[in-house]
Symmetry: C2
Subunit: 167 residues, 2 copies
DNA sequence: ATAAACTTTCAATAATTATTGAAAGTTTAA
DNA sequence: TTAAACTTTCAATAATTATTGAAAGTTTAT
């Protein structure tokens, strides 16, 4: 497998995987492209490489910046803007986990809590609803907490290792 | 909030959350409905409750059975078939984690491994592609392993607790 | 102040994904 | 064996989501 084939394969795989972490194909592909690029890329560069329109590129870059995993960069002497992505996979994982928790998991936890807090009228079906949504609430909360703890532990481990190197 | 409202809220929330664990709305809603039902439901029951077509119900029930979280049940004296879902949230989490790993994460790990194994031609861009996909490969593999370990640990914890009660 | 270089916005359109419903298929009871 | 009861399949259609491209907006250099 040559460079170009490997590159395309990576971008496509990462792109279709986007749905797994809740972002669309173009967004994931742009991130993938930046992730393996050795230098910041301009909008033109991205459009050319991925064969997507200017509007699409602009909108998805914006979203990636909102997520905090892509940053604008100005290159001296150049008028247009260049973009880079977070290159450290651990930090990338940390940001993604945090954002997904905030955007999707927290709201669900809140609703499950609301639903499981309805007043118990004594009927079997109400009891079952309360019991099961409470169980789901607890599970979701625990899973969310564990993911965050886990990702932050990784972070601490990395930080510590870096600290040792710097000292 | 009354029973019906809470029920609808739960089914809708769980339904729209479906995308988070990679299944479609109807599929998630059917699972949610079964999850809070006090007795097995027939296809008619599900169609009526969720206002969806027979075909849709049939196809999504099939998928849920493929996932292993819904099972057919026959009720004596009844011609039609009834369905139930796994009621233990821990076991549900275990099955979902396992299936997602098998269906989505493992194939990605394989491709990342392939891509990161291309021969190093010494150019900077090839070195970067290898380095970054390798990092992503390792992260994905570690995360996948941790999720599985975690879910199984929960399982063990539960099993132990139950054992204590039984003894 | 102007115009070139560049980016954003958003209505229109395309692509994808989900849903329907009726015909075909299967099972069961008599 | 037949026909009623029930389930599955799948082509057609609807709903949703992503993408385009051109007009409007912004920034920068002179």
């Amino acid at each position: 497998m040559e460079y170009q084939e490997a590159k395309d394969k990576f971008i496509n795989t990462w792109g279709s995987l986007g749905s797994l972490w809740g972002i669309n194909k173009a967004m994931a592909q742009i991130q993938a492209l930046l992730f393996i690029s050795t230098k910041p890329l301009s909008m033109e560069d991205i459009m050319d490489e991925l064969q997507i329109s200017r509007g699409n590129t602009s909108m998805n870059l914006r979203q990636l910046m909102d997520w905090g995993i892509v940053t604008k960069e100005s290159v001296p002497g150049e008028r247009k803007e260049f973009f880079t992505t977070e290159k450290d996979v651990q930090e990338l994982a940390r940001v993604i986990a945090k954002e997904r928790s905030r955007r999707e998991i927290q709201p669900v936890i809140k609703i499950l809590n609301d639903v499981s807090s309805i007043k118990d009228d004594g009927t079997e079906k109400t009891k079952e609803l309360i019991k099961q949504t409470k169980a789901l609430h607890d599970l979701t909360e625990t899973a969310d907490a564990m993911i965050n703890k886990l990702v932050n532990q990784q972070q601490n481990w990395i930080t510590k290792s870096l600290m040792k190197l710097i000292k």
